[in-house]
Symmetry: C2
Subunit: 317 residues, 2 copies
Amino acid sequence: MKYIFGIDIGGTNIKFGLINTDGKILLNDSIKTKSELGSDKTFDRIAEEIEKLRVEKNIEKSDILGVGMGIPGPVLNQETVVFFANFPWEENLNVSKLLGEKTGYKVKVDNDVNVITAGEVWQGAAKGHTEVLGVALGTGIGGGVISNGKLIAGIGGAGGEIGHMTIVPNGKLCGCGKKGCFEAYVSATGIERETESRLSINKKNKVWDIVVKKEIQKVEAKDVFDAAKLGDKFALDIIDYTTDHIAHGLSIVLHITNPKVVVIGGGVALAGDILFDRIREKIKAYSLPVCVEELKILPAKLGNEAGIVGAAALILN
Amino acid sequence: MKYIFGIDIGGTNIKFGLINTDGKILLNDSIKTKSELGSDKTFDRIAEEIEKLRVEKNIEKSDILGVGMGIPGPVLNQETVVFFANFPWEENLNVSKLLGEKTGYKVKVDNDVNVITAGEVWQGAAKGHTEVLGVALGTGIGGGVISNGKLIAGIGGAGGEIGHMTIVPNGKLCGCGKKGCFEAYVSATGIERETESRLSINKKNKVWDIVVKKEIQKVEAKDVFDAAKLGDKFALDIIDYTTDHIAHGLSIVLHITNPKVVVIGGGVALAGDILFDRIREKIKAYSLPVCVEELKILPAKLGNEAGIVGAAALILN
């Protein structure tokens, strides 16, 4: 049996998985990221951890096929990180070369949402498919587009940047500085902004009831879904508004890459059927029949392990 | 030297090119399509024409690498035409097999806009690039998306169907039955509809002056561009409106596949700088810097020969 290390670098923790070529996770581990130590020191610590885990599991170096890694930010050629979205590290860092030299293994790197998508294709909801759109609906929105079995990076690593498609010209201001981005409408932050705006003129609803009971009276996207599940009309209106925008945005991608599966993960996706049922219904009005007839819109399956499993998948592709 | 036949099946004519592996066109020819004779008879006639041209040029059968073909409609695996957009022929016809058997050559087929895009990549404005968006702005709107050097077909051949992305929810009715499609706004037909609508309440402009002089008083997109070039404000407003929608629609694709080159052809693109200058300027407001900094938006180069050159390119890929 051969093995792969899958690594998921987050702002707080670096997660490690030792995964066999069947996709089984043999070992899960994590260390603090401590990005303030700089990139070189961090990759030293990663190399040490990899070696520690390999020895712990008594695996020969020759049985390690490589190291896959997911990072937040655009990546070129699965080697070079254009910039790290969370860390003040150098731009255009060839992580593949750097960690390759420190470990002696083949190293492939990709954007975290691309990695999650690759994981869902290898072992999750989109298992075995070659035409897939992966979507992370969280604080922000990320996308991973797989066509002809390969991730689309584009010339600057911005392939799959679906969060910044303009869906409403001159619409809501987005964190990126543009207006009307998909992310400004359908991310958790977007849902919260819309809800706060509506609450400012309507407090007779269950969302407000939930919010006032909290220590810090701040709306969270989850409050809206919770109130909607209780049948609250105010909350259901926001869900309709949001899912209509999600359906519109996703339908656009269907006409460009015509995927078989759209896999949606991230915190907002945890809302479940109340979200997915509406998206599946609303997307039809925005789409040519050929784009939706055989389409499956599915919740992500791998959850917290998507990052390490997907990172390992990079090495097998 | 080796040779390829490139064939472009249109509603009226079938064009033939004999092209060498350097992209040089040795011979141009055409026959009437006569689609009413049915698919089988038509492909018999195509096979006969190929043989006639080969003998005429005194080329050995073994020096023919294959036959590439562009057709209007979605295509799977560069083999099977899901349906012919213009002809009442059978669905899911494996043209590759059918014409392969009739000629003895390897045959590859693709959608006409995909083929044109492949041609522009092989010998035209996007020569040598692997990340390209090809756009045909004509009576309708078609797209060809090339990522990682390959055309994106998707599961139903609807990859690159950018004409039917919804850019204005609940917007103008499109010929496909949906509302707010890109095509409804930026095709020649879309420009003409918008112009007719505006002319109905404003006839004091140069577009109207041009239209009334015609035998049949019908607006054509070209009239608008002609009036705009004379400085007519009414026409310039329509150009601004149209190019703003073009910029919005194209910017969306930039965030999905992050191409290096957007090549725009078709009748509307013949308007030239007045169109391209505005698109290049307006697209910035809709796009993340990473998507436009190194982007080139170029007019197609191959013109009428794009179909046969692109069809030949399929065989080399």
